[in-house]
């Protein structure tokens, strides 16, 4: 449907306004990371630094601000590992469960489905005290796996729901044909179902990454050793400085920019794939 001139005008003004709103805080973070302390803490803020300094970046990168054993790059790496692990495990588990709930029939199916959805009704923080003891007894404290497991459990409700729906929308006939051709279930999933369920799968992936990457509390509580610090926790430590009364704005903004750039790169690439996935491979009659 063609847009007329008024609609185009409205469309772009709204669209670009939203872009500015979305991007401004990030822009602000960026220029703040370059301002000298006196300009940073000032009642008349400037929209572009008068003097540019890289002192915060040098500090954050060279000094081990998070602790003496670890710097921001390491925390970034830790978070990435946990996020990737969560994504992988979530996809595997929710594909299996979503497929099972969609395709097979067996007793107690509804009960099990409800159980899998249950975590959404339970705030993770409530479980911290028993979870801590559990992880300690299983020696999963201070490990990547500990956090991966916890993050994945948090993704089970949404993941199962989405994957079940995705599989539901694929005609049963496709599966039956493949079985007649002699394919096993796993092969069917991998070659036929998943490609068709790609939009759902990608959504799950995005959510899993989002949930895991953004986690602050679980990462904080279940890791003690400095080497296992995650990104959010590390940034918070940098921001708060050593004393409990100090907020180090310069260091926080610089640290955030450093952690932000790789994400932007990763995200840009993911974007293209996502577009193709959602529009290209969706089932179109």
């Amino acid at each position: 449907m063609k847009f007329n001139i008024y609609e185009k005008y409205l469309y772009y003004s709204v669209a670009y306004s939203l872009v500015i709103i979305a991007v401004f805080p990030i822009y602000w973070t960026f220029i703040s990371s370059l301002k000298v302390p006196s300009e940073l803490i000032n009642s008349s803020p400037t929209f572009f630094p008068n003097i540019i300094t890289f002192e915060y970046y040098l500090d954050v990168w060279n000094l081990n601000n998070v602790s003496q054993k670890i710097n921001l790059a390491d925390t970034f790496w830790n978070s990435t590992i946990v996020s990737l692990g969560t994504i992988f495990l979530t996809i595997v588990l929710t594909t299996l469960t979503g497929y099972s709930l969609s395709t097979f029939s067996f007793p107690f199916k509804n009960v099990i489905f409800v159980l899998l959805i249950l975590p959404i009704l339970v705030p993770g923080l409530s479980l911290v005290v028993p979870l801590y003891k559990l992880l300690k007894d299983l020696r999963l404290l201070d490990t990547y796996f500990g956090l991966i497991f916890i993050h994945t459990v948090g993704m089970l409700p949404l993941g199962t729901f989405m994957m079940r729906n995705s599989f539901d929308s694929i005609p049963k006939s496709l599966r039956e044909i493949s079985i007649l051709e002699g394919a096993g279930e796993i092969k069917i999933i991998l070659t036929v179902m998943l490609p068709l369920a790609l939009p759902g799968l990608l959504t799950v992936m995005v959510f899993a990454m989002y949930q895991s990457w953004n986690d602050y509390l679980m990462a904080f509580i279940f890791t003690n050793k400095p080497e296992m610090t995650m990104l959010n926790v590390g940034l918070a430590k940098i921001a708060r400085g050593g004393s409990q009364f100090e907020m180090k704005w310069g260091h926080l903004t610089a640290g955030s920019m450093i952690s932000f750039i790789p994400i932007i790169i990763f995200y840009t690439f993911l974007q293209q794939y996502f577009v193709r996935g959602v529009t290209g491979s969706a089932v179109k009659e």
Partner: protein
């Protein structure tokens, strides 16, 4: 093996890994929390059976009702904000116009920022004397007084956090809605336009109704998240002023880790779960129609 049996076996088998994880890292701690809620459970030392005492304690605690009221108020205000922004963003990204890829990337950017960063940045933006947003608000003349502190009243503090939360999380809701919109077939729109409908009418009568399931999903997630709100208020307002922005979860955490009352805290958690269960069931029933 009979086909029927094979199907049942496969059904359970596929479910096994997820159920194992769930049982160990979710059900087991959950049962523990239930158990704790019936005891006086000191941080160290022997627990004492209290029956339902903790529950009575929580229900008669004014702080609990204050936190509950606030949490509900917060949920009621932030949910439409999130949804409307997500919906409009989704519409923009779904249109066949130049630049949609760019727009989608930009709208999603705040989602990708680490949570710690976002919270601190917004505290910075809101800082009374040095925050750019406050500066702009005064410059635009919205506020006349010299001293304007966004966090001085519970009301303004909440709206300040609402804006930050909308900024950060609407992108993720947008994704759900986009996926839903993409599955609406183009011919619906074509047919409708041919019959003389305007763009707005298309949105109201085609897009919105067909998005029912995506909307339901987005709302359930959003509301569940809001009821459990913790981090945003913890970092930005610390529950202030005077605990006016202390959510249920924050009160639970305070009770457990600062007041060292693990029993009542567990009881609070159970109340939160009951509220969530109730709300979710209501939402699902509403959307079933």
């Amino acid at each position: 093996m009979k086909k029927r049996h094979k199907e049942i076996l496969l059904g359970y088998l596929f479910l096994l890994p997820a159920l194992a994880l769930l049982s160990l890292f979710f059900l087991y701690p959950l049962i523990n929390v239930f158990w704790m809620s019936f005891h006086k459970w000191p941080v160290f030392g022997k627990p004492k059976w209290l029956g339902l005492d903790n529950f009575y304690f929580v229900l008669t605690e004014p702080n609990f009702w204050m936190a509950l009221k606030f949490t509900l108020y917060y949920t009621l205000t932030v949910t439409p904000m999130l949804f409307i922004v997500a919906f409009v963003s989704a519409l923009i990204c779904n249109a066949k116009m130049f630049g949609t890829t760019l727009f989608r990337s930009m709208y999603f950017l705040p989602v990708v920022m680490s949570f710690a960063t976002a919270s601190f940045i917004w505290i910075w933006l809101y800082s009374e004397m040095y925050g750019v947003l406050v500066y702009l608000i005064k410059w635009l003349g919205i506020v006349q007084e010299d001293e304007f502190n966004v966090f001085s009243t519970g009301e303004t503090a909440m709206w300040a956090v609402n804006i930050m939360v909308t900024w950060k999380f609407s992108g993720i809701q947008m994704i759900i809605l986009i996926a839903g919109m993409q599955s609406i077939r183009d011919d619906f729109y074509e047919a409708s336009t041919l019959m003389g409908a305007s763009r707005l009418q298309n949105i109201i009568y085609i897009t919105a109704p067909l998005l029912k399931h995506s909307t339901a999903l987005a709302l359930v997630i959003s509301i569940a998240g809001s009821i459990q709100a913790f981090e945003q208020f913890f970092i930005m307002t610390a529950g202030g002023p005077a605990n006016q922005t202390r959510t249920l979860m924050m009160l639970t955490v305070d009770t457990a880790f600062d007041y060292f009352k693990l029993g009542p805290a567990s009881a609070m958690s159970i109340f939160i779960m009951m509220i969530l269960l109730f709300l979710t069931v209501v939402q699902l029933k509403l959307f079933r129609r």
